[in-house]
Symmetry: C2
Subunit: 253 residues, 2 copies
DNA sequence: AAGTTCAGATTGTTCAACGATCCTTCAATC
DNA sequence: GATTGAAGGATCGTTGAACAATCTGAACTT
C-alpha cells in the first residue's frame, strides 16, 4: 500500500511561505566566518519533513498516546505518516537528542522510560536553571509574563480544568527561566519540561497538590514583583525540593 | 579541503564519546507495554557508522580543522569518509542537536559561528550549572577530581604547554559540574564546553590570563576542600563574570 | 551598470535492496 | 524435564540511485 490515502493524514498541509516583498537584500557572506544572520534564517524557516515528523511524534508523546517503553517501529511510522523510512530515522535522531526516545542498536527506538535516578537528575537541572534565572531578576515585561502564567493557573483552577492547570504550571516555570533571556537556557528548560510531561503524564496528582502549586506560584511571583529575587529564589528552591519528593513518592509505589 | 589523502580508511577507531549511561539495578518498567531489558543496555555497544562519522567531525571541529562558518558538503564528506550521503546526514543531525553545526535549509550545513548574544548566552548556562553544582558541595572523591584538574593545570603551566592549560581548565570546570552527580548536567556542560572550544579555539589568550585562571582555580578548589561551598560558588561566579567580560572584549575587536 | 534568465550544483526526500542482528520458535540432546 | 542449539522471521543499519525543489553564479539583455 503505497499510501494513496492513508487513514491518518497527519502530515497534511505543506506550509509554503511565499514570503512576498520581505526578501531583504542580503549581502553575500563572502567566504567563511561571516556572520550570516540567523535572523534571516528565522524568517524563512520552512520546517523540513523530518522536522514535521518529529513534531508529530513529540505531540503524541506529550499527549500520552505513546507511553514510556513503547516501541516505535520505523516502517510502521513511515507508512502511517506517509513518509520514507529515512525521514523517520532522521526524526528519531532529533527526538533521541532530546532524550524523549532511546535507541537500542539493531533493536529499535523506544519511548524513554524513567529510571530510578532520573527524577533526581531532572530536578537537579531544574534547580540549577530555574533558581539561577530567578535570582537574576528580570525585566518588567518578563516578570509580567510570570504573572500571566500565575493568573492562567488561577483561571484553570476556577474552571476545574485539570489539564489547564498542568499547562499553566509549565508556563510558569518556563517564564521563570525566560527571565534570564537566554536562548540556550530556554531550550534546555523546554526539553526538561517535555521529559517531565512524558514521564508524569498519568501520574495524576490530587487536587490538593495542585492547590499547593498555585499558592507557591503566587508567593514566588509576588516576591519577584516586590523586587526581592533572592527570596523568590529561596521559595522556588523549597518548592522544587518538595515537588521532587512528591514525584519520587508517587513514582516509587 | 583539509584532507590531502582521501583514503576510505578515515574512519578509524577513534575516541568514542558516547555516554553509555551506567545506571544499573532497575526493577520493573512501570506500566510499560513492551519489556525493555536493561541488560541489553549494558551490552557492549559498537558505535554505529553515523556515530563514528559524527565523532570524526567533532574531533576535527575541536582541533580547529574546521573553522566557524565553514561549509560542510554532504557528498564531499561522504566520499572522504567512505560512507553514504544518508549516513553523513544522520551524523549532521547529531551535530546540529549539539549546536556544533547549523543547517540552512536547501543550502547546507555550516560550522556554527558565534553571534553577538551567544557569548552571554553560553555564560548564562555556565553560571547556572556550575554555580548550582558547586554550591551543593560534593563527595570527597569528586572534590578530589577537582583538585586533580587544578594540579593538571599547574603541571601544564610549568611545562609551558598552552594546549594542556586549556584542557586542564575545561577539566576543572567539568569536574565542578560533576560534583552534582547528574548525568544531564554533565552532558549539558560537555556541550557547552564543546561550543566554547569551537568558538574560542584560536582566540589565543595571553599567558597572563592563563595565570589568572590558575590562581582562580586554586582558590576555588581550596574553598571547596575547606568545606565552604558557598564561598567557592561566589568565587566561581566572579570568575565567570570576568571570563565573560574578557571573551567579549577579545571577540569584539 | 542594473536587472533578468538560465544552466549547474547541492540539498531534501523517496525508493529498493542487502547484510547484520536480534527475538522467537521449535526440535534435539543430556 | 530442562538446557542447549539451530532455523525462521522481523527489524534495523547502511548503501546506492533517482528525482524534485531550491539556491548559486554567470551569461545575457536592456
Amino acid at each position: 500500500m503505497t499510501s494513496s490515502e492513508s487513514g491518518s493524514r497527519v502530515l497534511s498541509a505543506r506550509q509554503q511561505t511565499a514570503a512576498p516583498g520581505a526578501a531583504a537584500g542580503n549581502k553575500r557572506d563572502a567566504g567563511a566566518g561571516a556572520a550570516l544572520g540567523a535572523a534571516a534564517r528565522l524568517r524563512v524557516a520552512v520546517p523540513s519533513v523530518a522536522d514535521r515528523v518529529a513534531a508529530e511524534l513529540r505531540l503524541q508523546l506529550a499527549e500520552g498516546l505513546l507511553l514510556p517503553g513503547a516501541r516505535l517501529t520505523e516502517s510502521t511510522i513511515a507508512e502511517d505518516l506517509g513518509v520514507s523510512r529515512n525521514t523517520v530515522r532522521e526524526a528519531f535522531a532529533e527526538l533521541a537528542a532530546e532524550r524523549l526516545v532511546v535507541r537500542h542498536p539493531n533493536r529499535g527506538v523506544f519511548v524513554a522510560s524513567l529510571e530510578p535516578g532520573d527524577i533526581h537528575d531532572v530536578y537537579a537541572v531544574r534547580r540549577a536553571i530555574e533558581v539561577s534565572a530567578i535570582r537574576g531578576g528580570g525585566s518588567p515585561e518578563r516578570v509580567a509574563a510570570v504573572r500571566a502564567a500565575v493568573e492562567e493557573g488561577k483561571a484553570a483552577a476556577a474552571a476545574d480544568d485539570e489539564e489547564g492547570l498542568g499547562n499553566a504550571n509549565q508556563h510558569f516555570h518556563g517564564a521563570i527561566v525566560a527571565l534570564a533571556g537566554s536562548r540556550r537556557l530556554d531550550t534546555i528548560m523546554a526539553q526538561v519540561l517535555a521529559e517531565m510531561r512524558l514521564f508524569f503524564h498519568k501520574a495524576t496528582l490530587d487536587a490538593h497538590f495542585y492547590r499547593g502549586w498555585l499558592a507557591d506560584n503566587e508567593e514566588i511571583c509576588a516576591a519577584l514583583e516586590a523586587g526581592d529575587p533572592g527570596r523568590a529564589g529561596d521559595l522556588l528552591l523549597a518548592y522544587l525540593d518538595r515537588s521532587e519528593e512528591r514525584q519520587s513518592a508517587v513514582h516509587a509505589e
